[in-house]
């Protein structure tokens, strides 16, 4: 017991938080920038998980390599969906508030469609495989390799994204658009293409997270919604439109979850939601919100 | 008689004083102008008076009662109304709905619908918007939106009206009309406290002017006194 175990728990929480952060950054792009509260985010995670599973079990393709195949496809799918659906909705909505409403409805529609197609293609059975299930031992603190990998991915992507947003012209345009679309347009950005790319990037991150999740947990076509909810909570907690905030929100959720699970598993969900609600009340526009 | 009197009004945002120790008063029936460069704390002072934000310390007496710390709707019910620097209309509602609402909930309260409707038409005519009853508010021109906001404030039956940059963004003809409107309002018995950047207009219409800078009152007096005041000239008029 004592200090080392607590540290162990905290690191374990951060590792799970890394995965949540990845999911949250993906949704952060779709909601914070493209203003689509995409409740079907989890379905893209599910698609990523099943793509990895199918490629691994049927063709023996390494789960990490499969990303090279599934990543671009899901990215393209996301981009296309924004182009054909959300861009159109955005134009026809009389205000941003109205667009947020209609886009939620449309993304619910997407959720139903994707989930049903997945059910038809893979059946409702629980599926799973084992990959990188081994552990790494840090002087007594033991972590699963696949969870560490997920954390590593989240950190790399988080940092890469941070520099992308801070340094590149396109990144700056995204940040501007997250604050104010008109200004971004004044900067000479093709706004619709950019929002489409953001949406595609969000879907890509979901697929990436799905790939990692399929190594850690069993998968079913119905697994998506809980992840969507985690992502939405993390994004809101971090502050809307703040990508770094989404990353932070995800980490906090994982950390808080693990700590309360250690202190009292029976009360963990109650404590989890109480902490979340209190954080919002203390910071009514998110942790990194204005 | 002093309708409004502030003593030692202070508001800090973090460590920054938005208004520091401001004393001021408005007499019944006066038109008082409030001037100062951007960030001088003018709108903050209005927000404090109307209850939008809570003060750090001080007192503001309205008709002999300390209203500091009261909520905006309570202050409104006591007979103090305001307009906003950036117009805050109920944009998707009709012009008449904007005013009806103020009639229903303003100082008089509990007005019957038909009375409110009559009052609404009268006010629209008064501010020069007759015939626009059914128009969606956000479809009006900026000048007309400002008029509507004044009419809405008047519909609450205020004894003191705070006008925050009524003339900003208006063309010279519209400025003249607005000046006329201010005088008309006063004529009907409402006291006016107004923030204005359009110097010519405010100098022409005010009985008295208060100048703020960095949250402090730097000068007070008749328009003539203010235009000749050395400090005001230096920091505000930039001479």
């Amino acid at each position: 017991m004592g200090g080392t175990l607590l540290l162990d728990i905290i690191i374990g929480g951060l590792i799970l938080g890394g995965l949540y952060a990845l999911i949250a950054v993906g949704l952060g792009l779709q909601y914070g920038v493209a203003r689509v509260l995409n409740v079907s985010h989890g379905e893209f995670i599910m698609l990523g998980a099943f793509a990895t599973y199918s490629l691994y079990t049927s063709f023996g393709i390494n789960p990490l390599v499969s990303l090279v195949i599934s990543g671009p496809i899901v990215f393209g799918l996301g981009f296309l969906i924004h182009r054909t659906l959300f861009q159109h909705l955005r134009k026809s909505s009389e205000s941003m508030a109205a667009f947020e409403g209609t886009s939620i409805l449309a993304s619910f529609g997407l959720l139903f469609i994707i989930q049903n197609i997945a059910l038809l293609s893979w059946g409702s059975d629980i599926k799973g495989y084992t990959y990188l299930a081994g552990t790494v031992d840090f002087g007594g603190a033991i972590y699963a390799q696949n969870r560490l990998l997920a954390f590593l991915f989240a950190i790399i992507i988080g940092l890469a994204f941070y520099f992308f947003l801070a340094r590149t012209r396109f990144g700056k345009a995204i940040r501007a658009a997250a604050q104010d679309v008109d200004t971004a347009q004044l900067m000479g950005v093709n706004i619709h293409r950019m929002l489409g790319l953001c949406f595609g990037l969000g879907a890509l991150m979901a697929a990436l997270a799905g790939c990692l999740i399929s190594m850690m947990f069993e998968i079913t076509p119905l697994m998506g919604l809980p992840y969507s909810i985690i992502a939405i909570i993390a994004v809101v907690l971090g502050g809307l439109g703040n990508i770094l905030g989404s990353l932070l929100g995800g980490l906090i959720l994982g950390l808080v979850g693990n700590i309360v699970m250690y202190i009292h598993p029976g009360l963990s969900l109650i404590a989890y939601y109480m902490i979340f609600l209190l954080l919002i009340l203390v910071r009514p526009t998110g942790i990194l919100g204005k | 008689m002093r309708i409004l009197e502030g003593k030692g009004v202070q508001k800090y945002f973090g460590g920054l004083a938005a208004t520091a120790d401001v004393d001021f008063h408005i007499n019944q029936g006066e038109i008082v102008g409030l001037i100062g460069p951007n960030g001088a704390g003018k709108t903050t002072l209005f927000n404090l008076i109307s209850g939008s934000i809570a003060p750090t310390s001080g007192t503001i007496m309205f008709k002999g009662e300390n209203i500091l710390g009261l909520k905006p709707h309570q202050i409104c019910k006591r007979g103090l109304a305001r307009t906003f620097q950036l117009v805050k209309l109920f944009g998707s509602m009709t012009v008449s709905q904007n005013i009806l609402l103020a009639c229903f909930f303003g100082k008089s309260g509990g007005v019957h619908k038909s009375d409110a409707q009559r009052e609404s038409s009268r006010l629209l005519e008064f501010v020069g918007l007759s015939g626009t009853d059914g128009v969606i508010a956000k479809e009006l021109t900026i000048a007309n939106q400002k008029r509507l906001e004044v009419a809405r404030a008047l519909a609450t039956k205020p004894e003191l009206l705070l006008l925050d940059e009524l003339m900003a963004g208006l063309n010279p003809t519209e400025v003249a009309q607005a000046t006329e409107l201010v005088l008309e309002i006063r004529k009907k018995g409402t006291t006016i406290f107004m923030i204005e950047h359009v110097m010519k207009a405010i100098m022409g219409v005010s009985d008295r002017i208060i100048a703020l800078h960095y949250g402090k009152k730097i000068s007070e007096g008749t328009p003539e006194e203010i235009t000749t005041d050395k400090t005001v000239k230096e920091i505000y008029l930039g001479i």
Binding site: M1, G12, Y129, I142, G257, M261, P265, G266, S268 | -
Partner: protein, 403 residues
């Protein structure tokens, strides 16, 4: 004139409708209509898609290949037609669709939904309309309290009382003194704990950790680390499939190696063995026990047919029970020679039925024949290890360490 034509037309249409509708009224019975509202989507869908739906469909196919079920009152074999509705894993929808099956589709018989909660909701409704229902995926002590109010309902699966007792007997047999008892904060976990916890005390076995955890947890390692630190002889987890998989994966990672490793629903699923590998799960124990080696007529054949038809093994938990409940229904119809549900119910309640899980007999609405209570993975098969007389293999103890 045109008015008259119109009237004639109306009469004609009415006649046509009558002619078309007549056969549907059941006058000339040409099939047995069976309906079920079960989860094709939502959180219960994985369970339903594994344990029940494949068996329902397979049975219908088999029966119809024989030309149907012989019903004496009609003097011929009647083929079976199955209507499946999706209850979306939602109780309200389930209740409503069952009433639709009864009132609108006028089915002859009903098949149960998936899961304890659904059975509790649908059972009373079926009972209200007088439809016998044999529930293969309800395991609850609460059922005992209401069983007398719903005489048309039969529980065929193992109940926590017997299964929990069998588990504790196993612990006594191995001389285990110190255990950790964790349970999912849902009906299943609570009812199991309510049975097992006092039984442990009575036998002088100490539960040094007794702790619930929430459904849907994504990381249970903090709890498992506590258990590892407590150095117990046995881990008893009253778990649902998602947590069963999670606890297993994380115990492997943490090298948590108690001498006895028991988890609830999910261990008996073939996918459990396939995900982790037969070697890794060697010695893991779980709730439910059935395997094709059991000496019941048709058991092996059922297993083979299932594998052949669906290209996957039936789970070793409720699948065979689901199939058995269909066998019982079929036998009851043949025995009574009728589709009269009252008579069917009475026969089910009193007679003994040979099935793939052995000779089933209901007492007070509960099946007293269990093929086994607890199973253990040994060389890729889920061997029955408790109750003792039903063993298909000797239990492995202590469990080999994780690879």
């Amino acid at each position: 004139m045109s008015g008259m034509i119109k009237q004639l037309r109306v009469v004609f249409i009415l006649l046509a409708v009558l002619v078309v509708a007549f056969p549907l009224t059941g006058y000339c019975k040409d099939k047995i209509l069976i309906g079920t509202a079960i989860s094709l989507s939502g959180p219960y869908a994985p369970g339903a898609g594994m344990t029940q739906i494949p068996n329902y469909k397979m049975w219908v196919e088999e029966v119809n290949a024989k030309g149907g079920i012989y019903v004496k009152e009609y003097g011929k074999r009647l083929p079976v037609e199955l209507i499946i509705y999706d209850d979306k894993s939602d109780i309200g929808t389930a209740v409503k669709l069952v009433e639709k099956l009864v009132l609108e589709d006028k089915v002859d018989l009903l098949l149960p939904p998936w899961g304890t909660a659904m059975h509790f909701a649908v059972g009373p409704v079926a009972n209200k309309y007088g439809y016998p229902l044999i529930g293969p995926t309800i395991s609850s002590e609460k059922l005992r309290k209401v069983a007398h109010k719903i005489p048309y309902f039969f529980g065929i699966l193992n109940m926590p009382r017997e299964q929990g007792a069998a588990l504790v007997d196993l612990l006594v047999e191995f001389g285990i003194k110190k255990v950790a008892l964790i349970y999912v904060a849902d009906a299943y976990g609570i009812e199991w704990t309510a049975e097992v916890s006092p039984a442990l005390k009575a036998k002088g076995i100490k539960a040094v950790i007794e702790q619930s955890y929430p459904l849907g947890a994504k990381d249970l390692s903090p709890l498992l680390k506590k258990i590892k630190a407590a150095n117990v002889d046995a881990l008893l987890g009253m778990s649902y499939p998602p947590d069963t998989f999670l606890i297993t994966a994380q115990s492997m990672g943490l090298k948590l190696n108690p001498k006895l490793f028991y988890l609830g629903v999910g261990v008996a699923f073939p996918v459990y063995r396939d995900k982790f590998g037969a070697k890794a799960v060697e010695g893991v124990m779980g709730a439910g026990a059935w395997n094709p080696k059991l000496p019941y007529p048709g058991a092996k054949e059922y297993y083979d047919r299932h594998v052949k038809k669906w290209n996957k093994e039936p789970d070793r938990w409720g699948s065979a029970f689901a199939y058995a409940s269909l066998q019982i229904l079929e036998q009851a119809i043949e025995k009574t020679g009728t589709l009269d549900r009252k008579k069917l119910r009475d026969v089910i309640a009193t007679e003994t039925f040979p099935t793939v899980i052995g000779p089933v007999k209901f007492e007070g609405g509960f099946n007293i024949q269990a093929p086994g209570e607890i199973g253990q993975w040994q060389n890729g098969e889920f061997e029955v290890v408790a109750g003792k007389p039903k063993r298909t293999a000797k239990p492995i103890y202590p469990k080999p360490a994780w690879p």
